[in-house]
């Protein structure tokens, strides 16, 4: 359904007047309205990743209110403000919450040693130090200052970086900048497949 902001307010306002005019009705037939599960949540505007319509979504997150609480997402639905989707979502978009709260999420850096068939938990420090070292070793081994014609090329072709299309622009930009500074030619994004 296509929600225009005005149409939506009209529907809501109409019912509000109805309820207001009657005042509080405490007769037994007046049923209690069930509470909205998102009524205590913080709403943040975001953009869905599942196709290039890039629909506006509203992410509802909630904490227990303690000072160091981590906000947990409790619900996601379409953003009626966004002109491209007007609050609607597709089946993938409607299950974004399953992407956020998912028992299959990788939540710790994992490391597979050579010859192993499984990953083991590790720390970010170990992982980053090790990856930086691997990148440097690979670059240093493969760096081509000039090509066979003697032209300056300053390039690296023995490692590749693929920046996913779910990556935001700022992150992708940082990645492009870093990889080009390293001299990488094999740089790719899933635009072709």
């Amino acid at each position: 359904m296509d929600l225009t902001r005005r149409g939506f307010l009209k529907l809501t306002a109409g019912t509000a007047v109805g309820a207001g005019a009657l005042g509080f009705d405490t007769r037994p037939a007046e049923a209690a309205v069930p509470a909205l599960k998102v009524s205590a949540a913080r709403v943040s505007k975001n953009v869905c990743v599942y196709c290039s319509v890039s629909c506006g979504v509203l992410v509802y997150s909630q904490t227990d209110g303690s000072m160091n609480a981590k906000a947990r997402a409790i619900h996601v639905e379409g953003n009626p403000d966004d002109p491209v989707n007007r609050g609607t979502l597709c089946p993938k978009g409607a299950s974004i919450i399953d992407q956020i709260n998912n028992p299959m999420r990788v939540t710790k850096p994992m490391h597979r040693k050579a010859g192993s068939s499984e990953y083991e938990e590790t720390t970010w420090d170990f992982a980053l130090d090790r990856i930086a070292k691997l990148i440097k070793e690979t670059r240093d081994r493969g760096f081509q200052a000039t090509d066979d014609k003697g032209q300056t090329v300053n390039r690296v072709v023995n490692m590749a970086t693929v920046i996913g299309s779910q990556t935001g622009n700022e992150e992708g930009y940082l990645g492009v900048k870093l990889n080009r500074a390293l001299g990488l030619v094999p740089l790719e994004t899933p635009a072709r497949i």
Binding site: N46, V47, C48, V49, Y50, S52, S54, Y60, K70, P83, I97, D98, Q99, I100, N102, M104, R105, V106, T107, P109, M110, R112, A114, S116, S117, W124, R130, I131, A132, L134, R139, D140, N154, A160, T161, V162, I163, G164, S165, Q166, G168, N169, E170, E171, G172, L174, V176, K177, L178, R180, A181, L184, P186, L187, E188, T189, P190, A191, R192, I193
Partner: protein
């Protein structure tokens, strides 16, 4: 997309060919439905399958997968022969009048253009240019009657594409073809427009770029580009694939569609000369003429003070490539042991690349591999692809790092309509999940320290890279977007010496960029997204003053907040709208400027004679497009694996410059062993090889299946729901069979062709598991865009032994 999503509602005809927007882009397809609900637009689908777009379309035509170029040639021929084209538009806004050099020719018997080198499998494209006059301007014949003008050549080229040929090649009945061609032809009227929607159904062919080229020819002939409701809608697959493409996360590109330098461009000047085109038509805006400004500003953004005029703005810091290393080359190099490391952020490349067995073997030869992802994706467990891979023998050191999803991060995404939209972080990170900015920064700081400590080859680009963020270990999206927007390195002054932009202030538009190193801009096309007044990508104005679905104050569309590209073409040569119905941008004689519903895609005070296609050196659209490597006119070729011979030129049945590889795993199938045409595609319930980890989508479509015609199933003794084995020359998989009349057998060149549809979304990891579709697909690539041929390859289907599991 040239016009964006909301503009589809202005179409009179929505042609879906090479896409399935109802399934792959449901919320965008709403605008096609809206066009019909609002004003009775027709929706026509030309597709091998009666898919869910076709289910709601006004007309569905079943076509043989891989034969679309013949169909398109047929439509172009129909439009030309029946004078359905918009003549004034064609004369004023296309290169139809341009005279083509006589070194260009096409041999219809061989299907080859002039200049083909069969050994190198390459054309000499320099033979295909225009004839130039003494002022280095292309010669023109405004009457379009010169036999060497692009218009006449187009007409000549496509006269072979008769309805009879279409029927023979595509399996589309002549009457059905003519019905569709007539509907398309009607949009050649000045007050009518056709929106074409396509996606990977067109790009994933060995001639994908040519397919889109053929639609460009058609839409230009019909005068449908630049007007509301008329566009070529490239529907892209991910939430920010437009953004990562814009950014130049592509081997041969730099941010903002600047070209990456090649080895032969030894100096900055050589590079700029090569990629700064010269106008070849009077009053062409030739916007790429500004390339030096964009490039130098980029170098200033990346290397700041280290990029000086003296060192050619650090031109040497950039790698110079010999051959582009896109997926095809990365995977092939991996397979050949030439690749040591692979760093993947949020992409499941094992599952999504062709010939997965080859990819997995390649990965097993890597020294190291890093995946940053939300889920334990198949790529991270590549050794599970095949029983032949023994993890104990695989020496690849792998990392699987916990990433953050889009809802957990700030930043911007760009949609197919080029709209840059700001996202606000929702929930906090779980566990030790981190975003890419943090990972890149942490790696950068470590690498910088290593190079400072240990040294290494040419460390300057790393050591001097601009990384002046408030917290260099964890920059914010906001400050990076500002870097992309650009700022003044020095005070910028106008002709009279007044300071326009103070040193350090952000720029308001890419029009302020300079090629002397006084401006810095990481991404010129995004210029203006973050002017001094604030972040325009976060704007949420919901007003649509024109009622045409243009929301100028909701987020920011690059370039310059323009919602319809080439919008000057919505007015005729004199600047008057083509029709009152399609009025969008017009010339105001009083103020001597362009006015209308959008930001003009042309200098706002440039006279009407200026061509609308400002990114072309001609300033007009190209019917004759010499830049494409397999020829200036799209020509029909068969897919690399095809059950029938090429009807037009059997000697050269396939794209003569296709990118193919020869290895033990690059085998091709023949119709005797693999008689059925297969195509892969998405279903709406899933997002690539990703949502199989999510309960919602996994439940909505849990099991791998294929769609096959009732007639074929009968021949094979397969019942609906049976498990079947699908095999190609490269691999095989098991799936459930959905036996349906929605897949029609077609008769092509006298042969019955059965098509088998294979949705892609499964793999060996996740909640919804199933066969890995790309075990089947061939490692064959479009030579222009380097997309693999996923649509139209050969398979066999048998009832799985052991019956229903």
């Amino acid at each position: 997309m040239t016009n964006g999503w909301m503009d589809i509602q202005n179409a009179d005809l929505v042609l879906v060919m090479g896409g399935n927007p109802a399934e792959a882009h449901p919320c965008g397809f709403k605008w096609a439905i809206k066009a019909r609900q609002k004003k009775g637009a027709k929706i026509v689908v030309v597709d091998p399958r009666l898919n869910r777009t076709a289910a709601v379309a006004d007309k569905h035509v079943a076509i043989r997968c891989g034969s679309d170029l013949a169909f398109m040639g047929g439509v172009i021929n129909y439009v030309l022969q029946n004078k359905k084209y918009q003549e004034a538009y064609v004369k004023a806004f296309t290169n139809a009048p341009f005279i083509v050099k006589d070194t260009y020719s096409f041999d219809s018997a061989t299907g080859l253009f002039s200049g083909y080198d069969p050994k190198a499998r390459k054309y000499d494209q320099s033979l295909w240019g225009y004839e130039m006059d003494e002022n280095k301007m292309a010669k023109q014949d405004p009457t379009l009657s010169d036999p060497r003008c692009a218009f006449q050549l187009t007409k000549k080229h496509y006269e072979r594409y008769t309805p009879e040929l279409v029927e023979k090649v595509c399996g589309v009945k002549k009457e059905e073809f003519l019905e569709v061609a007539k509907m398309i032809g009607e949009t050649g009227a000045p007050d009518k427009a056709m929106t074409h929607l396509y996606a990977l159904g067109w790009t994933e062919h060995s001639f994908g770029t040519q397919l889109i080229g053929s639609m460009a020819v058609l839409q230009l002939l019909l005068g449908n580009i630049g007007v509301p409701g008329g566009q070529i809608g490239a529907l892209r697959g991910h939430g920010n694939v437009q953004g990562t493409t814009d950014l130049g996360a592509l081997t041969a590109a730099l941010p903002g569609y600047l070209k990456a330098p090649k080895a032969e461009h030894k100096t900055l000047q050589q590079y700029l000369d090569a990629f700064t085109p010269k106008a070849n038509r009077e009053s062409s805006m030739n916007y790429w003429g500004n390339t030096p400004k964009f490039f130098v500003s980029l170098m200033k953004a990346w290397w700041g003070d280290a990029a000086t005029k003296e060192n050619e703005f650090a031109y040497d810091y950039l790698p110079k490539y010999e051959t582009p290393k896109a997926y095809n080359a990365i995977l092939d190099d991996m397979y050949n042991g030439k690749m040591e490391g692979l760093f993947v952020l949020g992409a499941n490349i094992l599952t999504s690349s062709p010939n997965a067995n080859k990819s997995a073997i390649g990965m097993s030869k890597l020294k190291w591999m890093v995946n940053l992802d939300l889920f334990p994706i198949d790529t991270a467990y590549f050794w599970k692809t095949s029983k032949d891979l023994d993890p104990a023998k695989i020496q690849t050191e792998c990392f699987l790092l916990p990433g953050l999803g889009f809802a957990e991060k700030d930043g911007t995404f760009v949609n197919s309509g080029r709209t840059i939209k700001w996202r606000y972080k929702g929930p906090d990170a779980q566990g030790e999940c981190r975003d890419e900015k943090w990972v890149f920064s942490q790696l950068y700081l470590r690498l910088k320290a290593l190079y400072q400590k240990e040294g290494g080859p040419f460390p300057d680009p790393i050591l001097k890279l601009t990384w002046n963020y408030k917290n260099p270990g964890s920059p914010s999206a906001d400050e990076i977007l500002q870097e992309m927007n650009g700022f003044a390195v020095e005070n910028l002054v106008d002709d009279k010496g007044n300071v326009v932009v103070k040193k350090g202030d952000r720029l308001s538009t890419f029009g302020q960029l300079k090629d002397d190193g006084t401006t810095s801009c990481g991404m010129w096309i995004y210029g203006g997204v973050y002017p001094p007044s604030g972040n325009r990508s976060a704007a949420v104005g919901t007003e649509d003053p024109s009622g045409l679905g243009v929301f100028p104050n909701y987020a920011f569309s690059w370039p310059a907040n323009r919602r319809i590209l080439y919008n000057r073409a919505s007015a005729d040569a004199s600047g008057k709208p083509w029709s009152e119905k399609k009025k969008y941008l017009w010339w105001n004689e009083g103020t001597k400027s362009w006015v209308g519903h959008d930001v003009p895609d042309i200098g706002p005070t440039l006279p009407p004679a200026t061509g609308p296609f400002i990114m072309n050196a001609e300033g007009v659209g190209r019917l004759f497009a010499p830049a494409l490597v397999e020829g200036p006119f799209p020509e029909y070729y068969e897919p690399y694996e095809s059950p029938i011979a090429n009807v037009l030129h059997p000697a050269n049945p396939t794209n003569p410059v296709v990118k193919v590889y020869k290895s033990d795993h690059d085998v091709l199938g023949t119709p005797d062993k693999f008689p059925y045409v297969a195509l892969t595609y998405r279903v709406t319930e899933h997002y690539h090889f990703y949502t199989k980890f999510l309960k919602g989508p996994a439940r909505a479509f849990p099991h791998m299946f294929i769609e096959m015609p009732v007639e074929l199933a009968k021949e094979k003794g397969i019942a609906n729901g049976d498990r079947v084995r699908v095999s190609s020359a490269r691999g095989s998989l098991e799936a459930m069979a959905m036996v349906t009349r929605r897949m029609k057998p077609l008769t092509c060149d006298g042969k019955t062709v059965y098509q088998v549809g294979i949705p892609i979304h499964w793999g060996f990891q996740g909640l919804a598991k199933g066969g890995l579709v790309n075990l089947l697909t061939p490692f064959v690539w479009d030579p222009n865009a380097l997309t693999p041929e996923f649509k139209g390859f050969l398979v066999n289907v048998e009832k799985a032994t052991g019956g229903a599991a």
